[in-house]
Symmetry: C2
DNA sequence: TGTACATCAGTGAACGCGCGTTCACTGATGTAC
DNA sequence: TGTACATCAGTGAACGCGCGTTCACTGATGTAC
């Protein structure tokens, strides 16, 4: 064969990774198949050798984004002093760095309303990805019992995603930082 | 003339109102010019008698959405007992009713990430609409000084918009209500 | 060992479609004379 | 008072364009004999 045995699988993974960044940066409609394939160094014609439809790519890209964001935040938690993991997550999530780089950030802040509008079949698969993100991060949340941690997850990620989104609408970095700091203060003093 | 003197202005306002609902329900790319005109009982050909471009309609629709949401929440505040205005706003915003009806709800929860991605010229105009929303609602927020109320506005609307967005991704009403209740609890106990 | 054929990831032209946009036209009313 | 023309909100066909998708083809490698 012309290529290594796992060449095709690697190409597919690269397409998903590139698509994941582009979807977060430009939205699900903004990330065109041809642009994604160009990102991966390929031509658009080969796309359907790897995926059955663009929707399939979108679902996998969103899954990849949740996975990457989950890895990012668990790494942050691992590097934090014992007992401060969730505070480290809040500080990293609510940073100007995250705010100004949607492409490598949390898909909730980048895409939530669009994902909520997707059709039933897709919505189910995307919800499964969100559930995976939650089950990965929930143990790092404050609270004694699992139910407390679950509530903390929802409250903390609601505030963080909303704050990043509002901050991203603001033209001045100083204004963005003000919104992020306000959300940080609310969360750090409330749990 | 064939029509009343203010007929054209009224038609334009109807187009903007209908577009505002459709944009909140389906996103800026989902709300096609022809669909918006059909909503208003017109054909798409007449669109450019009223608007210079689709972007112009989007900006005005988002402005209309902020105005409608501002009126809704100030009405809620007016009907609340003295000193509980912001709590009434939190309860109304974080209701299943609002969660399940994006078309008539807050544009932050329906559109924030898409709006953040719009090009510089549009972004400036959309920021101005957000600033109007903020200046209308900030006086109703908890806190003594204006700076406190501003921080409360950012923190509360971040949490509320994020919670509605996450809830809208969930398939079961009970799960949506759990997220909304969690965000309500956080806000009502933190200010 | 050498030739003919099979495989298959990737190419690039082409498809139909819906989009934003344009434009010649309609037809009811107002105005000029 | 009656006729010719101007106005202008709205119509509907058409435009170019980019999209998702399809498909005949390429060409390097592996296999059959």
């Amino acid at each position: 064969m012309r290529y290594q045995p796992d060449h095709k699988a690697e190409t597919r993974r690269k397409i998903v990774k590139d698509a994941s960044r582009r979807v977060r940066a430009e939205g699900t409609t903004g990330a065109a198949v041809s642009a994604v394939m160009r990102d991966a160094g390929l031509t658009h014609g080969g796309f359907y050798k790897h995926f059955g439809s663009k929707d399939e790519l979108i679902v996998e890209s969103v899954g990849e984004a949740f996975t990457e964001a989950g890895e990012w935040l668990t790494r942050i938690a691992r590097q934090a002093k014992p007992g401060t993991a969730w505070k480290a997550i809040v500080k990293a999530y609510l940073s100007l760095e995250h705010c100004d780089h949607a492409a490598s950030g949390c898909p909730l802040a980048a895409l939530a309303p669009e994902l909520a509008r997707s059709d039933r079949a897709m919505k189910g698969r995307i919800f499964a990805e969100l559930a995976g993100y939650k089950s990965r991060l929930q143990p790092l949340m404050p609270g004694r019992r699992a139910a407390d941690k679950e509530r903390a997850f929802f409250a903390i990620f609601s505030t963080m995603a909303g704050a990043i989104e509002i901050a991203r609408m603001l033209p001045e970095p100083a204004m963005r930082e003000k919104v992020l700091a306000t959300a940080r203060d609310l969360l750090l003093r409330s749990f």
